[in-house]
Amino acid sequence: MTTPIPELIVRPDPMQVFMFSAVTWNRHHIHYSKDAALREGLPDVVVQRGLLGNFLSRLITNWVGDGAELRRLAWKVTRSAVPGENIICRGRIMERTEAPDQKYVVCKVTASNTNEELIASGDAFVIFT
């Protein structure tokens, strides 16, 4: 049986999508121009793959606090997310080991919208220090 970890709900707004593009110097127009996004068949400017990864990273760091380090995060985007909608990040512990020289946990992580459509999914490898 797998154990769930506490959920994280985020709601990226246009400013956050802008800030993330700015801080990563990503000038791809689907993240700042609604016209350009619509021309490419997207519903609005879209949340960056990288920012979705950071939401999943926060899900893990909120849960483990100071006692552990996120060692690896892998995620895949399955559906576009747009600003102004809630993204619910969840995780489940799939595997854990308590070996004296190395304690670690593997979690499956997901990000879904309020219609329970999957935005991204992946896994996180966490080492307890």
């Binding site: 801080v23 990503n26 791809h28 990864g53 380090e69 995060l73």
Partner: protein, 160 residues
């Protein structure tokens, strides 16, 4: 003689591009704000000194700040997508597919990071809406002591 897509891609695969960057406290603050992270370990030096890190550290995926080269806008493709994935495939709409991101140590203010990016692979598949091109870019990050800091393998998808 016409060059095929494969022939024009081959010389690009495996060619490393190296950049150097000195991280500031401001960079760490801005990245934390951009991802919605409020943990004072990214903002407050006095607080950070009381933690196991002993100083301000960046969030785990911070090196994404250094992944895309800051080439001039004129060098970018028309859609502004990153130069790292500007490869000669017959498709011009780009979305980010996924990532695998490893964290070896947290970045600190003052770290001098070396980012090495390599185009690892380009492959193609027929999708529901047409042909898709997958572009795989690996970026390795190390610090001033030559210690590995992070490694990201990101896959981008271009479609017609």
């Amino acid at each position: 003689m016409e060059t095929t897509v494969t022939e024009s891609l081959l010389p690009l695969i495996g060619m490393p591009k190296v950049r150097h960057y000195e991280v500031t406290r401001r960079d760490i603050r801005h990245f934390a704000q951009a991802i919605g992270e409020e943990d004072p370990v990214h903002f407050d030096e006095d607080y950070a000194k009381t933690t196991k890190y002993g100083a301000i550290v960046a969030p785990p995926l911070f090196c994404q700040m250094l992944t895309f080269e800051d080439v001039s806008p004129q060098q970018l493709p028309e859609d502004g997508s990153p130069i790292e994935i500007d490869v000669p495939v017959p498709a011009h709409r780009t979305v980010g597919g996924g990532s695998s991101y490893e964290i070896f140590r947290r970045v600190r203010a003052g770290d001098r990071i070396t980012a090495t990016s390599i185009l690892r692979d380009v492959f193609t598949k027929e999708g529901r809406g047409g042909r898709l091109y997958f572009i795989v870019v690996e970026t390795e990050f190390s610090n001033q002591d030559n210690e590995p800091v992070a490694r990201e393998t990101a896959t981008y998808i271009k479609r017609v």
